[in-house]
């Protein structure tokens, strides 16, 4: 995986944690209001978080109206710690370490993501084979590249991005129900500039009216064919907010699906600034000791 992309994926992952939960009750909201509230939640919850997640990917098949994995899923296990900085905590520092698979175990990355689009994000990667910390040129989140796969899964950076609402036409298509839940169907159509950086001509999100989480999202190409579908499940109340702990993205073109499972998610913990430095990448004794302290806070 190219290093620059790994950097971007790491920064995005932190956003994923809080990109879907919506905590406030709202009535008579516009599509933009709803999506802006999602971003407010993101900022409120991105500060001081410890997360363990699992990304599983497989080729799927349909058998007797049921979707099943047609092969043994590929599994990637990751642990991350993040903290907000700067004005309104809009900047983020995060460390992410790969736990599985064995071939990637111990690969660590430190990322500083700046809210100011004029500042390039910063990232350092530690590979034991390289024997040192290496700076990665990551550019800004807003540069002109096509979104890529997130850690080799069917999720892309674009699927998980939040914000940039000015670059979309937003419409509430209807209020309906999905699996017994009342939902809004919100359509997002990128403007001309955004369309150049997007793989989708439009998306439709089904947002739970009561719990304010995305239960389903459909992605369409320029021929208005549905190319991907994302389903959310295991909606649980964690630390006072509703969280979608299991997200499944189906690529209808490649017939592959990926599941992102948030096995542990803890916010509001005290993360020392020293932990979000290059030392955490090179000094495994320090890293493990500090992680134990963070886990102790949760317990």
């Amino acid at each position: 995986m190219p290093q620059r992309f790994l950097v971007r994926a790491t920064a995005i992952l932190l956003g994923i944690l809080i990109g879907f939960p919506l905590s406030s009750m709202a009535q008579d909201l516009s599509a933009r209001d709803i999506l802006e509230k999602m971003e407010d939640n993101q900022r409120a919850q991105s500060n001081s978080a410890l997360t363990r997640m699992q990304l599983s990917t497989c080729k799927y098949g349909v058998r007797e109206s049921r979707i099943t994995c047609a092969e043994r899923p590929r599994v990637k296990s990751l642990e991350s710690v993040g903290k907000g900085y700067g004005v309104d905590l809009k900047d983020t520092k995060s460390v992410i370490v790969t736990l599985e698979p064995a071939s990637e175990r111990g690969i660590g990355m430190l990322s500083f993501a700046y809210d100011d689009p004029s500042r390039d994000n910063e990232s350092w990667l530690y590979l034991s084979a390289l024997g040192r910390v290496k700076r990665i040129a990551s550019g800004s989140d807003d540069d002109e590249t096509e979104p890529g796969s997130l850690f080799g899964s069917e999720f892309t950076t674009e699927d998980q991005e939040t914000g940039k609402l000015d670059e979309y036409e937003l419409n509430i298509l209807e209020s309906t129900s999905l699996d017994g839940r009342e939902v809004w169907k919100i359509e997002q159509i990128p403007n001309e500039d955004r369309a150049l950086k997007s793989r989708y001509a439009r998306t439709v999100a089904y947002i739970d009216m009561e719990r304010f989480v995305v239960l389903r999202m459909e992605m369409y190409d320029q021929y208005d064919r549905e190319v991907k579908r994302m389903l959310g499940s295991r909606v649980e109340l964690m630390n006072g907010i509703w969280v979608t702990r299991s997200l499944t993205m189906m690529n209808l073109v490649t017939n592959r699906l990926s599941n992102m499972a948030f096995l542990e998610m803890h916010t509001g913990i005290e993360v020392p600034d020293e932990f979000l430095t290059q030392r955490t990448l090179t000094d495994a004794a320090f890293r493990e000791t500090e992680l134990e302290k963070l886990r102790a806070q949760i317990q």
């Binding site: 620059r4 590929r74 490649t254």
Partner: protein, 475 residues
């Protein structure tokens, strides 16, 4: 020992076929899914195919086996082009296609933070050399085995300090692949499957002390048993029969040591570091035995190093720069077994060296990088007698260009590396393909082509074409 090129060629073709047939599946029309579809209940409850992931969460138990990472690999590699070389005008040597590597490797890595602030880390490897491997032939045509400890250190971290005792590496350079500052650990380029300096780096017994300050870090090391680049293994592509037996350094009761320190600071979008060290050249300098018979005399080459390194990120571009000043280094350091044996000059000089380059991400999948290393002896003619000549005159060094492209959600990586010396005497081209089959299995293939004129020691590999394949299992 005739090489069965068909085997490797067919492996390579299978690899390519696997890769591109998978890619071809991506051009289908989207599948239309019925809205009433459910997930297979065998995998979890109806809405959640991967519910078992959460079941594992509650039943997670730490096992001592979790501290181990093991990779088992089988490698085939060989020279496939039947041709001749002419290192001396009019004298032709045949170069027949032959298998060079047929070996099984087992790499084990262990990392255990066994108590707060304490860590034990170790890694080692075993190699088994099968029929047609050059090690098999060097072992009188019988299966040979080799075991080696790579890393083995104990780490204690407290407050802002960290101490590491044991076998480890210290890397200072910024330029990946050919930095003039990556000279602390010694190296072994045993054969042409090892292209990268990172893969050839050997660990040494050292004490490393790191101080992590508020705005900058110090890293210092002491090595009380400096090791030197091992001589080429008999039978390997780099081996040739020297006029005198090449032995290790005769330490007697002499206490050799190396020591150095580095100061490093990070700014927004840039890192810089300064370093100073007393070191021994990793490559021993060999001289004729005084009596003219017996073993060559290995001579240590100690010197002082002052260095500076920096990087700067500009969008998707990363610039790297290393600068090294070596004081009192032997001018005619040994470069290739045999070539400097005749009459190396016993002159010590100062040397300036730099390596610089860039890495650029073309997009999320593609990247290109360039590295150039250049060195020059200062006052190179001073002390030379009429007719004397240094082995390295003027500016000497190498360049390296890499390109990589990641496909199929990172499962397939295509890469190419071009490498050469600054004087244009030799050129190496490598094409690589790595395919990850699943979380455990992966395969890779390599094609290496070498071109050289008589000015370069690589003339012995001129017009060689090497083809290789490796299959690995990790857990």
């Amino acid at each position: 020992m005739r090489f069965s090129a068909n085997i490797v060629a067919s492996l390579g073709l299978q690899l390519l076929f696997t890769a591109f047939s998978s890619q071809a599946q991506q051009v289908n029309d989207p599948q239309v899914l019925d809205d009433n579809l459910d997930f297979e209940p065998d995998f979890g409850f109806e809405e959640d195919l991967f519910a078992t992931a959460f079941d594992e969460e509650s039943s997670t138990t730490d096992s001592w086996l979790d501290d181990f990472t093991i990779r088992i690999s089988q490698q085939f590699f060989g020279q496939v082009n039947n041709h001749s070389i002419e290192p001396i005008p009019g004298i032709l040597f045949p170069r027949e296609a032959e298998m060079e590597n047929n070996r099984l490797g087992i790499n084990i890595r262990y990392q255990n933070a066994f108590a707060p602030g304490w860590l034990l880390q170790a890694s080692g490897q075993a190699r088994y050399y099968w029929k047609d491997d050059y090690e098999y032939e060097a072992n009188s045509d019988s299966i040979d085995a080799e075991y080696r400890v790579n890393e083995f250190f104990l780490q204690r971290s407290y407050g802002q300090e960290s101490l590491k005792f044991g076998r480890q590496t210290v890397v200072w350079g910024e330029t990946v692949g050919n930095s003039v500052l990556d000279v602390i650990n010694h190296f072994e380029f045993r054969d042409l499957t090892i292209i990268d300096i990172e893969d050839a780096r050997l660990n040494q017994w050292m004490v490393v002390w790191d101080h992590f300050g508020e705005g900058s870090n110090w890293s210092s090391f002491v090595n009380l048993y400096p090791e030197f680049n091992p001589a080429a293994v008999r039978g390997s592509p780099f081996f040739f029969e020297p006029a005198f037996n090449l032995t290790d350094y005769d330490r007697d009761s002499e206490l050799l040591f190396e020591a150095g320190t580095q100061w490093r600071k990070s700014f927004e979008l840039s890192d810089i570091s300064f370093m100073a060290a007393y070191l021994y050249e990793n490559q021993l300098r060999y001289e004729d035995p005084i009596s003219g018979i017996g073993d060559a005399i290995a001579k240590g080459n100690d010197f002082l190093l002052l260095g500076f390194s920096a990087n700067r990120a500009i969008g998707r571009l990363l610039l790297n720069f290393d600068l090294a000043f070596s004081h009192n280094v032997l001018a005619d350091s040994f470069n290739f077994p045999g070539t400097a044996l005749a009459s190396p000059l016993d002159l010590r000089k100062d040397q300036i060296g730099t390596s610089f380059g860039f890495e650029y991400a073309l997009d999320n999948e593609q990247s290109v990088s360039l590295g150039i290393q250049a060195q020059k002896l200062l006052d190179e003619n001073e002390g030379l007698l009429p007719g004397q000549q240094l082995f390295n005159e003027g500016v000497f060094g190498s360049w390296l260009v890499r390109y990589s492209n990641t496909l199929l959600n990172s499962d397939l990586v295509l890469s190419s590396t071009l490498q050469g010396d600054l004087k244009g005497d030799s050129f190496l081209a490598l094409l690589g393909i790595d395919y990850t089959i699943n979380d455990n299995w992966s395969v890779s293939g390599q094609v290496i082509s070498i071109t050289s004129n008589r000015e370069s020691p690589l003339v012995f590999f001129d017009a060689d074409v090497r083809l290789g394949a490796t299959i690995s299992y990790s857990f």
